[in-house]
């Protein structure tokens, strides 16, 4: 009998070309996604006089800098225009397929990869973006890398890595109405801490996770990095295979049957060992919001923000004071008493069709008390939402319906939260200044953002769902 293996081990060994004595493994990369931010890597590659080793396994998407308004016009800001042009030139020169600004497939790289069927179970996927962990939702081994590593992958289609430790996070039980993948993810992050999974690859399991749709699984795996994890994975199952079937780059016919047979073996063996096990009860997870400046500053909506005066540890007390000071929240204040200035629905975390439906279900027939922006995760999601009439619901509620991109999650395309303003946001990072200098961010699910919009303050979505069709 061979030793039982985890899904993480199986994925690793299937891509390990060689292992050095010091423990470094050379891994084969099946898919490499690049975006405007990959310009440092293309420069490094050119400086070394080399070219792209496997253009057929490399795909480009314009997302980080793209404008969400006036797509048919020339980009007004010359620096931003240059970032998009640079990606177009670099990919064209290297014969890399690019989904650029006016391509009907354009969108956020972590939405587009799965949507086009480029992301598949059993693949090793990298991208110069920390939220590459998203693709683990399909049972892919997917992680973010920096510019030097992007350059290395461009030139060799391989990467040197040390095998991470293995962590299993199990969530069992039925999530209640109004509680979704974002709440589960924030509950996990609050439990293990923003650096709790550092040095670990995560496998998510348990009945709560199994019950999630692919969109929900992507939200969960996307946020693995916010717990410090190297990657997050979910074993592929019938939900995964049903999502994939018929997508442009997915194998067809007999080739698909063969693939599904192989993918069905991508599970942890029953007696496989994990370096760390974490268990959560899915029955008791409530809608969650963040109050501070790291994603583990997360609490159920009916709670109060911490009071530094009641914190015994002086280092922690100082942290709490600084965070509350930046967020301009009085110690001990009830979360539901915190007024907001605007909302944002979008980002690689929560901008897929199911996310838009969840927000629209709350907003339908209601009006937002604050301004807000809705940026669908891809041009294809945008068309689908418009076909379902969701755009009308957002517009009638008083929110802006925009084009697809990273937008107000990172603010580098010009969509920012003005200094001092407070935003209820479906994004992934509540870091100081993340959504713009001086911006204050509260992370939550799309349904909770919608609840905050119609209430004008942080609010529990559950009473607002009474009698609604979901």
């Amino acid at each position: 009998m061979s030793e039982p293996l985890t899904l993480i081990d199986k994925s690793w060994f299937a891509h390990e070309i060689v292992r050095r004595d010091d423990g470094a493994s050379l891994l084969w990369v099946d898919r490499h996604y690049v975006h405007e931010g990959s310009f440092h890597a293309f420069s490094q590659m050119k400086e070394s006089g080399r070219g792209v080793a496997e253009p057929g396994l490399t795909f480009g998407v314009a997302d980080h800098y793209v404008p969400t308004h006036g797509r048919d016009q020339v980009i007004a800001n010359p620096e931003i225009a240059a970032m998009v042009r640079n990606l177009e030139a670099n990919t064209a020169e290297s014969r890399i397929t690019l989904f650029s600004l006016r391509d009907p497939r354009q969108g956020i790289v972590h939405v587009v990869g799965p949507e086009q069927g480029l992301t598949l179970p059993g693949l090793l996927i990298v991208c110069g973006d920390s939220h590459t962990s998203t693709h683990g939702a399909f049972g892919a081994y997917a992680f973010g890398i920096g510019a030097s590593e992007v350059a290395h992958v461009l030139m060799t289609q391989t990467l040197w890595q040390r095998k991470p430790k293995r962590m299993r996070i199990t969530v069992d039980g039925a999530a209640t109405i109004g509680v979704g993948a974002k709440d589960i993810a924030l509950a996990i992050i609050a439990h293990v801490g923003a650096d709790g999974a550092q040095g670990h690859a995560i496998e998510f399991g348990g009945s709560t996770i199994r019950a999630l749709s692919m969109e929900g699984r992507m939200t969960l795996c996307n946020l693995s990095i916010e717990a410090g994890g190297r990657c997050g994975m979910i074993a592929p199952d019938t939900t995964t295979f049903a999502y994939l079937k018929g997508r442009p780059y997915v194998p067809k016919g007999d080739a698909l049957d063969r693939a599904v047979d192989d993918w069905s073996a991508l599970v942890s063996d029953p007696d496989a060992n994990f370096d760390r096990e974490v268990k959560l009860d899915g029955n008791i997870i409530a809608p969650i919001v963040t109050w501070g400046t790291t994603p583990d500053d997360a609490l159920p909506i009916d709670a109060r923000v911490p009071d530094p005066a009641r914190e015994a540890n002086p280092v922690r007390a100082k942290y709490l004071r600084d965070a509350l000071d930046y967020m301009a929240i009085a110690p001990g204040r009830k979360l539901t008493e915190i007024p907001i200035d605007r909302v944002f629905i979008g980002s690689c975390t929560n901008s897929r069709i199911e996310d838009l439906r969840a927000a629209a279900a709350v907003l339908a027939g209601r009006v937002s008390k604050v301004p807000g922006l809705v940026s669908p995760g891809s041009s294809s999601v945008k068309r689908q939402a418009e076909g379902e009439g969701l755009d009308r619901i957002f517009r009638d509620a008083g929110l802006e319906w925009a084009e697809s991109g990273c937008s107000m999650c990172v603010g580098i395309n010009g969509d920012i939260v003005p200094p001092g303003e407070r935003c209820a946001s479906t994004t992934n990072r509540n870091f100081r200044g993340r959504q713009g200098p001086g911006a204050r961010t509260h992370l939550m699910s799309p349904a909770m953002v919608a609840a905050a919009a119609v209430s004008g303050h942080l609010a529990d979505v559950r009473p607002l769902l009474a009698g609604r069709k979901l």
Partner: protein, 204 residues
């Protein structure tokens, strides 16, 4: 890549936890080319307020202008994978960051650029910060071979991933090293595609 063996320099204490890459280098500077010198905007929003006024932040003190070692809190460099955060530290003059823990991607990016990430306990950070405050001019000595930091009157041991240590000590270039495995990569690639035909993207 520049080798890292031993460094004797001033160490600037910045004992804050969770200084993520958005704090190290705000996203609006990511479109700057490296040649523009990212060191000038390192920790920009912690150093200056929205109107450009200087805030109370260690870097703004002239004494730390030539510090090459940064002493900081846990979870340094978490968040975004932006390697430009490492460029900003390096361009400012830093060659070593000492902290209780680092974001994984940041630590990988650091080693590729010759920046040492040394892991010590919270207690040792506090201890070293106190010694430095008592005598800021006294150099701190970081020795990668023995994995030690001499600070004040004590020697502290630090941890680092053995692969990163090897790479820094030897100044290895990854791409050159990978080139020596060219034949094995080609063989792997052929076998991988034969064994798992679905790894190749299907034609649209």
């Amino acid at each position: 890549m520049e080798k890292f063996v031993r460094l004797s320099a001033k160490a600037c204490p910045l004992p804050l936890p969770n200084l993520n890459t958005d704090q190290i280098l705000p996203a609006r500077y990511l479109k700057w080319p490296r040649s523009k010198g990212l060191g000038s905007v390192l920790f920009q929003d912690l150093r200056f307020d929205g109107d450009g006024n200087v805030k109370d932040f260690p870097f703004n003190q002239p004494i730390w202008k030539d510090a090459k070692i940064l002493l900081t809190g846990r979870n340094f460099g978490g968040g975004s994978s932006r390697e430009a955060a490492v460029y900003a530290l390096y361009d400012h003059g830093f060659r070593c960051v000492v902290a209780p823990s680092f974001g994984d991607i940041f630590a990988q990016n650091a080693v590729k650029n010759g920046l040492l990430t040394a892991i010590v306990s919270d207690v040792d950070i506090t201890d070293m910060a106190a010694a430095i405050s008592a005598n800021p001019e006294r150099p701190v000595v970081v020795d990668l071979d023995s994995k030690t930091i001499a600070c004040g009157n004590r020697i502290y041991e630090f941890e680092i991933d053995p692969v990163s240590r090897n790479q820094l000590l030897n100044g290895w270039d990854d791409v050159d090293l990978t080139g020596s495995y060219r034949d094995r990569i080609a063989k792997f690639s052929t076998e991988h595609r034969a064994l798992r035909p679905w790894v190749v993207p299907a034609r649209e």
